[in-house]
């Protein structure tokens, strides 16, 4: 299994924007959405338009939104019972209020907006580029390096897992609800951990052999300069964000 971004890396208007700008834009946009309220429907539309320009794969977006909306469904069912207001219907002594229903729907819209925007702007960044962008945004090196190591060795550990579990299946192992299954899975995960630990020692040995002394030297594999395209993106998204802010707080 290989980590892939949520859109084809072929350049679309959005995916050719510098990853750093996309990360910051997604953060600023999310904060504005969280603080807003009246603009919720327009905000969803803005996010969907950006996702369309980013050519996000529909299926990837659905897979991200599904668990979120399951949670939101619970909210829509339960929240109105605890918010006072005009009653929509009564369930025994409990009143399901219009106000609560409205609040739950707005929350659901905000949640979806943020996830759609994050998918469009951040999940479309190649994982390696995301790591580099975080490093260049002065995220502590320990964190960004940890992220890059994870990206690098995710596939290695995954193929180790596949090898071990295939070997178990080849010897007739079928997972069932019994102690044998639990014990076998415990051995499998223990083995993965031991292998990963051994490998980390070998990686450190190999790094030492190449003169590593505990400090990473800053090295930017592809220095990125801000382009016209980046500027246009900032102006467009910034403009729409300002419109949303104005609907919530402005005089329009």
């Amino acid at each position: 299994m290989i980590l892939e971004p949520d859109a084809n890396p072929k350049h679309s208007i959005v995916t050719s924007v510098d990853p750093r700008i996309r990360i910051i834009a997604a953060m600023v946009f999310s904060i504005v959405i969280v603080l807003g309220g009246k603009s919720a429907i327009l905000a969803v539309l803005v996010a969907l338009v950006v996702a369309a320009f980013a050519q996000v794969r529909i299926w990837a977006l659905v897979m991200r939104l599904a668990p979120l909306n399951l949670l939101m469904l619970v909210l829509v069912i339960t929240l109105p019972f605890s918010v006072p207001g005009e009653s929509m219907f009564l369930l025994g002594p409990l009143s399901y209020s219009f106000e609560g229903f409205g609040q739950a729907i707005v929350t659901a819209l905000k949640g979806n907006t943020i996830v759609i925007m994050l998918t469009a702007l951040v999940a479309t960044i190649e994982p390696v580029q995301l790591g580099h962008a975080l490093e260049r945004l002065y995220v502590p090196q320990k964190l960004s390096r940890l992220f890059l190591f994870t990206v690098r060795y995710f596939g290695v550990i995954d193929s180790e897992y596949n090898r071990l579990s295939r070997a178990m299946m080849m010897r007739g192992f079928r997972p069932r609800l019994n102690l044998h299954t639990l014990r076998s899975y415990a051995y499998l995960s223990g083995m993965l951990l031991v292998h990963a630990l051994d490998r980390s020692e070998r990686i450190l040995d190999a790094m030492r052999c190449r003169g590593f002394d505990g400090r990473f030297h800053s090295f930017d594999p592809n220095p990125h300069s801000i382009s016209w395209n980046d500027g246009c993106f900032v102006i467009m998204l910034g403009g729409w964000t300002a419109v949303l802010l104005n609907i919530d707080y402005g005089s329009w």
Partner: protein, 224 residues
């Protein structure tokens, strides 16, 4: 002194984790320009021997002389690691960076080169190995043969005097093996090559030793 050996292992004893000795009173010598093959049964410590030479495994007895100085403490091996390039058996252990260019530049950066110099060295080394255009490739998406070549590039970029290659052809297909063989034949470095592959060793090294029971024995291939 032109005749001084690069590596002189004198009656060395060493073990790995388990307590069993891998080398007992063993001697070995690598001269400049020499290419030595190392073969022998599995588990006899061929890899451990290579790791011993770069200070990853401690010496229990005897003398280890590398580049004309005695090497004992971890600090002694700092210079050794700059001048000896060790290619690990599993390239995934060696290539820890996300992209090819970063990995090849890692060694030069550690040697104190500036980012620009490191980039130039890395690009030139990749070109030397016929890996032009690989700079931005993502390492976890490379094939086994490509990984091995990039790992080799990472070592050559440090401009070492000696190469230690641990099973450089293991797990590679015929085409990749042929490519590695040709590259190694063209390199000027003194090297120690661990391999079980007779044809490969014959093509690459001048003489072969067998490591068995803690000793090095001159190895003569059986008549075919």
């Amino acid at each position: 002194m032109p005749d001084e050996p690069l590596i002189n292992v004198h009656n060395v004893t060493c073990g790995h984790g388990g307590g069993e000795m891998v080398l007992s009173d063993a001697s070995f010598r690598l001269d400049s320009g020499c290419r030595i093959g190392l073969t022998g049964p599995n588990g006899m410590g061929k890899s451990t021997f290579l790791h011993l030479l770069v200070g990853l495994v401690p010496v229990h007895g005897g003398e280890l002389e590398i580049f004309g100085s005695h090497r004992m403490s971890p600090a002694d091996f700092t210079e050794v690691r700059r001048r000896i390039g060790l290619l690990f058996q599993d390239s995934d252990d060696q290539l820890f960076c996300p992209t090819v260019l970063e990995d090849v530049a890692f060694g030069p950066l550690n040697l104190g080169k500036s980012a620009d110099d490191a980039r130039d060295i890395a690009t030139a080394t990749l070109t030397q190995l016929g890996l032009d255009g690989f700079e931005d490739r993502i390492i976890y998406k490379l094939s086994g043969g490509e990984k091995r070549l990039v790992a080799l590039a990472g070592i050559l970029a440090m401009e070492p005097d000696v190469l230690l290659l641990d099973e450089p052809c293991a797990g590679l297909d015929e085409t990749a093996e042929k490519r590695i063989t040709e590259i190694l034949q063209d390199l000027p470095h003194a090297m120690i090559v661990v391999s079980h592959n007779r044809a490969f060793l014959r093509a690459v090294v001048h003489e072969t030793y067998r490591l068995e029971d803690g000793q090095f024995h001159p190895h003569v291939w059986d008549a075919e």
